[in-house]
Symmetry: C2
Subunit: 456 residues, 2 copies
């Protein structure tokens, strides 16, 4: 087995869980572009955001300067339920690949939500409760975020209304039942319960739904319901802030093992996991203290980084949200229905978009059959059945480790294993049955999405 | 929160994983009764067992004396993938119940098989591989054992044929896909691929299947296929031996915290989890070094301890297996189809049967709606969605904690949280929809099962 003298799993102790989140914007010279009011094209003020978001979260959203923000006690207590998460030395995978590379992964799936999403869900539920709200609304795609938020809301006794992308709602009835067990109500999106949903249904009657569309419905419901606000599981600056706990723990565990990574890899849909994982490493890079290769991995069927445009766009299909400057495929873009799992959002976190635009990180797009091949190999060697999303990172980690095999380099690769695939067995079944196919949008497909970008 | 000064989760370090399994039979004055040859009614010799079981496992099965058996390196390496499992101080549940009791649970669900079954699966796969076999056969009920064994066989590159109880096969297609992802073949039982399956199908065409019936098919297939043996996930002495790692870790973690439990609670189907959890505590009890209340919890719909007979019976419906002396409802007994989840075996581990018969432990039967009420409360407070099986133990742990609330006693309760319920959402859905019902067999129902007991 490996020559490295580190445990298979490195757990921090309970009191080593970070006491503060790290806000990478504090170290960015060029800050991420502000949200714009879609009417005036002026930066959105806190007051303008207040009907949609919780007050404290708006503060975090707009704070481009404070580097460390203390984690409130109630959130810290909840973190102790499932954190610290282990940093795993993938000895069995290294052996199977016969690579000189050292591979580590930060495993965020050992909680009932099955992913890292819980890190931000509990924070957002806490601030909503603290503000005295009755409940919150949200959207969910693959269902990880909705599940996480339902757990968080149950913990603080908050009501929760979830709009679930229709194709996921149908493919994943069990996700819905987990949310219901935690007391949430779940509606397939687009639905006839909102104006925007009815409009989209009228225009595209057979639609599978999209995250952008579910966001529109959730925002409309929050704004129109007394005592409710809207919360979002990715893309936003506040979410990356909360998710920094992944990276902070990863860095602390690596430091404990005396290891400095060469390559850091994460899957990227809206950017919550990747942004959280890389934050302290990117901080060092921004401050000129260290250098790392940082790789975002996205599906070839929804390639916002690798084939999108860096432009202002609506965060949602229904155009009820503020405009965000981000790498985007256009808010009308809908990934092919044969695309399994999450990572199907048309845009990308404004923070990551800015960092990518500055050349501080790379991006790779991978096809899903290759992703599931990596998932199967990982499951069989490392004993964890990964989420399709996470398997994008596994794919590229394996590819980089195989390059090391060719060159003989002993690089250290760290990737984020964001979650488990227990609710993704429909996708695994199509892989097992060899009926899974790939889809790469043509340039013409993408042009249609770009045509809908607002002129700013 | 709690006054106890212990972490929320206690993890042993990797090198504190026990190096040996503990064989409680070594401390039992009256040993569990031996298997009998169904033809001669004489104890089965190792040679008679050899066509069915692996050689080394037969040795372990028949060894009533050796107290500690070293864990081979290859198994120990695999254990490091998912062990040590955490001992959790259920602070949030204590708070919700407002009880002076201290509640701890040993959580065995943080691995892809979703339960403790992996502890024995990897051991049995290892010994099969060591013997140079091509593959193994087995049965699975709720699917936990089959999943665990598929992971273990993938790790050692062994072929695996699983017979899955028909009702579970239909209710849990995703369990099947996990097993397939790990390379196993899965057949619903009863099937037409075996003589015994065809016979049962002819006699009961609409049957939902049972563990006893799936065992018959798996044994027949093993015996008739060159290079194959049969492996079993519960009931057997060898399984309790491997599962002792649960109890050894639990005791080590409690000792680390300076805590001596008053009550130890585990769910009991065939007895693998309960037998493993209690083993070191029972050892102390047998040696007169300490005393504990030990409670087995079983479903009211399949009450082998509380309403069964302590008698020799067939381990399987098809009567191809040896006779085992155990608490049994008769090998013809099939639990009502409205019973969700596992714990549906007609008999009980011979070791536990003997200990129960000697009055060294108690047993309680609980109804499933009460079980799911406990599961929901646990999920919402402790953040883990429990398996229906495990929730039997949660139910009684909560009941005991509520008794402490009445009496004001500060008892320490430890229970086994054997697994997660992510593949049990059909059952949760019926609970959420309030369509779940209870079923308690009448005395007449039970008499029918007893009528089939062999005359010895």
């Amino acid at each position: 087995m490996s020559k490295l003298k580190v445990p298979y799993k490195t757990y921090l102790s309970e009191d080593e869980i970070p006491k503060s989140w790290y806000n990478v914007r504090g170290d960015m010279k060029t800050k991420p572009a502000p949200f714009l009011n879609p009417g005036t094209h002026q930066p959105m003020s806190a007051d303008e955001l207040r009907p949609v978001f919780c007050d404290e979260l708006i503060k975090q959203e707009l704070d481009n300067d404070t580097r460390f923000i203390e984690i409130p006690d109630e959130i810290y207590e909840f973190y102790k339920m499932y954190r610290p998460s282990p940093l795993v030395h993938a000895e069995f995978l290294e052996k199977a690949l016969d690579t000189p590379a050292h591979i580590f992964y930060k495993f965020e799936g050992n909680n009932t939500s099955g992913s890292h999403k819980l890190n931000s869900a509990i924070a957002q539920a806490y601030y909503a409760k603290k503000q005295g709200l009755k409940g919150v609304t949200t959207e969910t795609g693959a269902g990880q975020w909705g599940t996480a938020l339902s757990m968080a809301c149950a913990f603080f006794n908050l009501d929760l209304k979830v709009f679930m992308v229709k194709v996921s709602y149908e493919q994943k009835p069990f996700r819905r039942e987990v949310m219901r067990t935690y007391g949430a109500s779940v509606t397939p999106s687009p639905s006839d319960t909102t104006e925007v949903g009815r409009k989209i249904l009228a225009e595209f009657p057979g639609t599978n739904g999209s995250l952008g569309c579910a966001i529109s419905e959730a925002v409309e419901t929050a704004v129109k319901t007394e005592g409710y606000r809207y919360v979002l599981g990715s893309v936003l600056n506040q979410v990356l802030l909360h998710q920094s706990i992944i990276g902070l723990e990863t860095k602390a565990a690596l430091d404990k093992c005396g290891i400095k990574p060469d390559i850091i890899i994460g899957c990227a849909g809206g950017g919550s996991n990747l942004g959280g994982l890389i934050s302290p490493f990117m901080g060092e890079k921004l401050r000129g203290e260290a250098d790392y290769r940082i790789i975002a991995v996205e599906p070839a069927s929804c390639p916002s980084f690798t084939r999108g445009r860096y432009a202002y766009d609506f965060a949602d299909t229904g155009m009820v949200c503020p405009l965000a400057k981000m790498y985007t495929l256009g808010h009308d873009f809908m990934p092919s229905p044969n695309h399994a799992g999450g990572l199907r959002y048309h845009g990308m976190s404004p923070i990551l978009s800015e960092l990518y635009d500055e050349g501080l990180m790379e991006a790779v797009a991978v096809e899903q059959t290759k992703v599931f091949e990596a998932a199967e190999q990982f499951a069989r060697t490392e004993g964890i059945l990964p989420a399709p999303e996470s398997s994008h990172a596994i794919r590229v980690a394996i590819d980089e480790a195989l390059k090391c095999k060719e060159t003989g380099e002993e690089k250290t690769i760290v990737f984020g294993l964001t979650g488990t695939g227990y609710f993704d067995m429909v996708a695994y079944q199509s892989f097992n049955d060899k009926t899974m196919s790939d889809y790469i949008p043509t340039d013409e497909d993408l042009e249609k999405g770009f045509a809908g970008l607002p002129k700013i």
